[in-house]
């Protein structure tokens, strides 16, 4: 059965999404996997707006409350050693309860550490990344923060990235 993208959305949000006009840019960028999975180094990226509380500040939700059309375009780095109790959450568009109980539902660090020790993947990189997905205007992501995070991943010799939206 085909996946219904709108199944769980409130009517007002679904209607808004359906009416948004998006210009799809061609061609779709394409980087084939350069080596077998068991030699690949992975980074994980989520737009769930999480952060490591001991090392970072939350995303700027206060400004979004004052300016509802604005969303914080910056990102946070999360070490592969991050512990569940150190995860903080800033996203105002989801209930953060479940990811505060188990961050693996958006950033599957524990699952990737398991796959690393099983030898299914080469390794999980030292750093994973979190953005905050509510962006009415993604020009800062395109021009600055996206390429910057890509550069940091390349510095850590990352081959492949698993992403989850929120």
């Amino acid at each position: 059965m085909p996946v219904d993208s709108f199944k769980y959305l409130p009517g007002v949000v679904a209607a808004y999404y359906r009416n948004l006009s998006v210009q799809r840019e061609e061609p779709i960028p394409w980087t084939p996997l350069s080596r077998p999975l068991n030699e690949c180094r992975f980074a994980l990226v989520t737009t769930a707006g999480i952060y490591a509380r001991r090392q970072d500040a939350p995303f700027d939700a206060e400004r979004e409350k004052r300016e509802p059309m604005w969303g914080d375009p910056t990102y946070r780095r999360l070490p592969r050693t991050v512990r569940q109790e150190d995860i903080g959450a800033s996203h105002l568009h989801i209930n953060n309860r479940d990811l505060l109980a188990d961050v693996n539902i958006v950033l599957p660090i524990t699952r990737f550490l398991e796959l690393e020790s099983e030898g299914v993947i080469g390794s999980l990189a030292p750093t994973s990344y979190s953005f905050m997905g509510y962006q009415m205007n993604n020009s800062e992501w395109r021009q600055r923060y996206g390429p910057e995070a890509a550069g940091l991943m390349k510095d850590e010799a990352v081959d492949a990235v698993l992403l989850t939206p929120a």
């Binding site: 085909p2 996946v3 219904d4 993208s5 709108f6 769980y8 959305l9 409130p10 007002v12 808004y16 999404y17 998006v22 799809r24 840019e25 061609e26 779709i28 960028p29 394409w30 996997l33 350069s34 077998p36 999975l37 980074a43 769930a48 979004e64 409350k65 509802p68 105002l92 568009h93 989801i94 209930n95 953060n96 479940d98 990811l99 693996n104 539902i105 958006v106 599957p108 699952r111 990737f112 398991e114 796959l115 509510y134 962006q135 009415m136 992501w141 996206g146 390429p147 890509a150 550069g151 991943m153 390349k154 081959d159 492949a160 990235v161 698993l162 992403l163 989850t164 939206p165 929120a166």
Partner: protein, 108 residues
């Protein structure tokens, strides 16, 4: 959007998403589509087996896909009654933009 930026920078990406609609419209390089509530791309909290199934499907797509824009749908049923699931993922307080839209609607 980020997937496209990373892919263009020379990284191979796979997105796990409950909204393949956006993948199709934006042109995401590789997508595993799951019919899960928003903010739960890999499954339910504490459900290691479900999370691993989704992760393994993402790895398989990464390895096998030869077609930019491929969307592979995963047939896993969300194990929670629909109304409950629809309510549970949403913020307890409406987001600032939703508040604004509701107010605008009220004032016509």
């Amino acid at each position: 959007m980020l997937a496209r930026i990373f892919e263009a920078a020379g990284l191979s990406t796979v997105l796990v998403s409950g909204m393949p609609y956006w993948s199709e419209r934006i042109g995401v390089p590789r997508t595993v589509a799951v019919e899960f509530p928003f903010g739960h791309a890999l499954g339910r909290p504490g459900d290691r087996e479900m999370q691993m199934r989704v992760v393994r499907a993402a790895l398989a797509l990464l390895e096998e896909s030869r077609t930019p824009g491929e969307i592979r749908e995963l047939d896993i049923e969300w194990p929670q009654p629909f109304d409950e699931a629809k309510r549970d993922w949403q913020p307890l307080e409406p987001s600032p933009i939703v508040k604004m839209m509701l107010e605008q609607r009220r004032h016509g």
